[in-house]
């Protein structure tokens, strides 16, 4: 799922710190973001926008963090509104609902662990590419040189 790869160049101390922060941003936002899934995305988006003119290493990791948050937004929002409609509307708890929430929890946990791991590695200047998200980031985020 996660691959450590050689980046185009050796990132500097400051770059590693900022790149690592892009993942930390989404972690911190989880605290607020649990009831409101959009908060996670907004936090990473703001960080992404603030760093889009930064160096390639920083941009690359900001993009990977943002993309992962974007896909989590859809599945988390659906789960969130489903729960709201059970509490406040006529929906009842079904096996479909419980299994959806179970899968959402598994996906969120995987993402959480991966994010923590990546934040630690990027802080050390190690380039970590996620399965699918890494490929997608390589496609979107190109080196200016």
């Amino acid at each position: 799922m996660i691959k450590i790869k050689q980046f185009n160049y050796e990132p500097g101390e400051h770059e590693s710190e900022t790149a690592s922060s892009s993942y930390l941003m989404s972690l911190i936002a989880i605290i607020v973001g649990l009831p409101f899934p959009i908060v996670n995305l907004i936090a990473t988006l703001i960080f992404y926008l603030g760093n889009r003119k930064s160096t390639y290493f920083v941009r690359w990791h900001c993009t990977q963090a943002l993309l992962s948050q974007l896909s989590m937004l859809f599945i988390n929002s659906y789960g969130f509104w489903w729960t709201v409609s059970i509490i406040f509307k006529d929906e009842t708890i079904t096996s479909n609902y419980i299994s959806y929430i179970a899968v959402v929890i598994i996906f969120n946990l995987t993402e959480l662990i991966t994010t923590i791991y990546t934040a630690i590695q990027t802080r050390k200047g190690i380039h970590v590419e996620w399965w699918f998200y890494g490929t997608l980031t390589n496609f979107i985020c190109k080196s200016k040189s």
Partner: protein, 271 residues
């Protein structure tokens, strides 16, 4: 690009695949969701009914109880409803009101029976309340207005008496939301038609009370808690059009007359 599409598709398939696979297990049963809900409902039903039993005067006259029981039995039989679920109680009170408590307790005030011009009007209101029970509206409303955690704490004896009092008030006096009311009205018409009871008097009852032509307006709890009565009467009439016209009476004219007479006598005695 091809790699991204393949990997993306695998992730999506993985998500939906695991969702569908887990959904094959009867998780509602595994987590005992139904059992917890049923137990809570049963305990709440007992709790609320005991409060009414202690504070109000229950009519235990054999004829009154038998008449109302036979109405409910007939409706249940014609609509394949488990008769055991509905526990009917008649309370001596002038208010024109009937309402459902959790776990199938159905309370009818004597004021409603006395102010019904014919048995079809009363049966219509009873059918409407049975529909609320059958469609699980009572628990839905309680969970929405009081919250499941408070309801569960009530069943374990930890609910404050103030909260319980407020909840009892909510059950007897406040309205279900519009969609639930309409659902119960339509279901009531179905019940009435299956039991060969003319649904038109039920609509007339709503019209009559909403026009406030009735002399008992100050006791019109059922109507004041069920707004838009005219609109409701209209869609009941509309829905019951083209239904069976071969209507019958559940209670004989004598039994209906005797029922009202007994309740009237009880009322005079109480006064």
């Amino acid at each position: 690009m091809k790699k991204i599409i393949i990997q993306g598709t695998i992730i999506i398939l993985l998500f939906f695949g695991s969702w569908l696979a887990i959904a094959q297990i009867d998780l509602v049963k595994v987590f005992k969701v139904q059992k917890v809900t049923d137990n809570t409902e049963q305990k709440l039903g007992e709790l609320f009914w005991n409060i009414f039993k202690a504070t109000e005067n229950e009519n235990k006259s054999i004829h009154v109880v038998n008449s109302i029981e036979s109405i409910v039995t007939q409706i249940c039989k014609s609509n394949e409803i488990d008769r055991e679920i509905i526990k009917i109680h008649v309370l001596n009170k002038d208010e024109i009101n009937a309402f459902a408590l959790p776990n199938g307790h159905l309370i009818v005030y004597s004021g409603l029976i006395l102010n019904s011009d014919n048995q079809e009007e009363l049966i219509g209101v009873i059918c409407h309340e049975i529909a609320h029970i059958e469609l699980n509206h009572v628990m839905k409303k309680l969970v929405k207005e009081v919250g499941l955690s408070i309801l569960i704490s009530m069943t374990t004896g930890n609910g404050g008496s103030e909260i319980i009092k407020e909840t009892v008030k909510t059950l007897s006096s406040s309205v279900f939301d519009r969609i639930l009311e309409k659902e119960a009205d339509i279901k009531a018409v179905d019940y009435l038609v299956s039991a060969k009871v003319n649904p038109e008097p039920f609509a007339n009852f709503l019209y009559k009370l909403s026009n406030k032509e009735h002399d008992a307006t100050e006791y019109l709890s059922w109507i004041s808690t069920h707004p838009d009565s005219k609109e409701r009467a209209e869609y009941i009439i509309e829905y019951s059009k083209n239904k069976s016209t071969d209507y019958e009476q559940i209670l004989s004219t004598e039994a209906w007359g005797k029922l009202k007479m007994e309740l009237n006598n009880d009322r005079k005695t109480n006064d």
